[in-house]
Symmetry: C2
Subunit: 357 residues, 2 copies
């Protein structure tokens, strides 16, 4: 029986980069007999325009049915003035939560061909290869109560709640340790245990899980120190596991160390490795529709999908190799352009990867 | 009548760096007829050892009485296994909260003499001069309820609360705008308004306060983007205002951009400019007692104290100039050492500043 992939182009540059990623996916599908069937839907602004909400029930039902989701990006100024509860981001948060995609994997890899693009000194980042494992369906993103109220004295007050349960921490810690096992066996758990109750439990549970992974060298770091160490000496890290909010901040910081966020894919997995795959970058409304966007992060997200959700390591490797090949050929979109290279648009870059594959 | 300064050496390298800062303060006191009287107390581990708690009531009473507090640093492995509620950091959080020191000013300045120390490329950080204004007595650091409980099913669960009231946001926003007015008139307010209720109120109130500062160019940025932009192009910022937790993370990240966190002072002010002054770095237990620590951040904290709490801009400028002079002379502690410079210890560096002053 064929496996299904739901494709959600989303907003801004989403449709353009997804078009290239789908070319690559279709070719891999054929070449490796993957027997994948693609269906399309809307998320974010595109869903608001069509269905009035950023994630329609019918799309969510489809997402539950399929084996993997490929997402472009969501959001843009067009929907910035819309009522908060139905903004584009809400669709993204809802699909993560409803599908139980608690494990967000965000690699920060420096491509040797793009070493110059980093704002850090070459010796600080050369060979950088970190994996941030971010908890994605708990913590302050989804905790209740959360509200804005007016106090008796007429003053407004707002509050959020940051909750974590043992089982939520345990399952994401396991992902962290599992990833460390197939990499360099070093895991750094990041929290703020000197201040937060939730972080104290986080640290306790991570310590408990560590007993099952005697080969992994575990360390703990406060989030403020982690934000510093990522700038000072990022290569000290192998796998970093952290909560939803800290992971949001640190994974963006880490991805920017490479200077080429247009190259970085991500995976969000549930407990059965069903996943949603998307580039780390956003919908870049300023360059949307111009054929300028870099499709490589989305193409590499296809590779992650084949690896994690379909256990097709061979096809995944081949796509990564093809991306590396086009970089070797000197092709660059505007965001990663440097002297002596050949500047290409979105479609030309996608076609080059297809050709290399 | 003479003004009083409470000196809290604290733990680790605290006593060593404070000794040098006090030399400088005493000289400035004499030279500029400041009529300051110094009293000493304990905070953190030192207070635990002497009083059994990280901040004794008598010390807190003294802190309320004086006009400014000069702090070294707190914490160390010796007190890591102590019961959580009386760890060294608790003393720090308590004194901030009890004295109402809601405005934490953390400059991130690149000293031209130390330009090489940064892990970022020179062109990205040369001339860097950012001020992070962090809310220090509210938010998730102090919000209740916060607890760890055991659920009916036997599972542990922990939670924290992130509250902000209109008046808390308004007063820190004013500090941000006031600082922008005496600098380059650019303020960036950092929040996570696409996810958090508290951040939505934060943004609303900052917008309201902005009406009183038509000359200041205000922007808003999500915290994940701010963590990226600090790495990508930090010079785009002038003043950044943000909440307690985001400020903890971003100010540490920003300070590390300069490569010389041993150089950076900080001020924590109440609504009458009474303040506590301390270096941005920690207690560095690994080098404590060896005479290796860099006293310049603490000496520059004295300068901030004279500027903000005692309105002695002349004396403050003179101390900053003296620090710049010793750097020009080529003196360096280990943390900022580079080729061709002269390596000195804590006391020698302090003495050099005294001589330059
Ligand atoms: C758009 C936003 C809600 C989202 C998040 O904060 O999770 C984004 O920043 C991300 O990291 O995927
Ligand atoms: C020691 C710790 C509680 C403190 C904080 O988080 O505020 C420190 O990191 C700081 O920034 O002064």
């Amino acid at each position: 029986m064929s496996k299904k992939v739901l494709v959600l182009p989303g907003d801004g540059i989403g449709p353009e980069i997804i078009a290239e990623a789908v070319k690559v996916l279709n070719l891999a599908n054929e070449k490796y007999n993957l027997d994948l069937e693609l269906v399309e839907g809307e998320l974010g602004g595109a869903a608001i325009d069509k269905h009035g909400v950023p994630l329609a029930d019918s799309t969510l039902a489809l997402a539950r049915e399929v084996d993997a989701v490929l997402l472009g990006a969501v959001g843009g100024p067009k929907w910035d003035t819309i009522e908060k509860s139905i903004r584009p981001e809400r669709g993204l948060l809802k699909i993560r939560s409803e599908l139980g995609l608690f494990a967000n994997l965000r690699p920060a890899i420096l491509y040797p061909q793009l070493a110059d693009a980093s704002s850090l000194k070459p010796e600080v980042v050369s060979g950088l290869d970190i994996l941030i494992v971010r908890e994605l369906t708990g913590g302050i993103y989804f905790g209740t109560p959360r509200d804005q109220v007016v106090l008796e004295n007429g003053e407004r007050k707002a509050f959020d709640t940051l909750p974590y349960s043992e089982s939520e921490i345990r399952r994401i810690a396991r992902v962290g340790f599992d990833m460390a096992m197939v990499r360099n066996k070093k895991l750094c758990s990041v929290d703020k245990a000197n201040v937060l109750a939730s972080s104290q439990l986080w640290r306790e549970v991570v310590e408990e899980v560590a007993k099952d992974y005697p080969e992994v060298e575990l360390s703990h770091m406060y989030v403020d120190n982690a934000a510093m160490q990522l700038v000072r000496a990022p290569k000290q890290f192998d796998v970093v596991v952290t909560d939803n909010m800290f992971g949001d901040i640190l994974s963006d910081e880490a991805s920017m160390l490479t200077g080429s966020i247009g190259m970085l894919p991500s995976a969000s997995l549930d407990s059965n490795n069903k996943g949603m795959y998307e580039p780390c970058h956003g919908s870049a409304p300023d360059i949307a529709g111009k054929g300028l966007a870099n499709p490589l992060a989305t193409i590499l997200s296809v590779s992650m999908m084949l690896r994690y959700s379909f256990s097709q390591a061979g096809a995944a490797d081949a796509i990564e190799q093809a991306v590396s090949d086009v970089l070797d050929q000197g092709l660059r979109t505007g965001d990663i352009m440097s002297e002596g290279m050949r500047k290409v648009g979105t479609a030309e870059m996608g076609d080059a990867v297809v050709a290399a594959l």
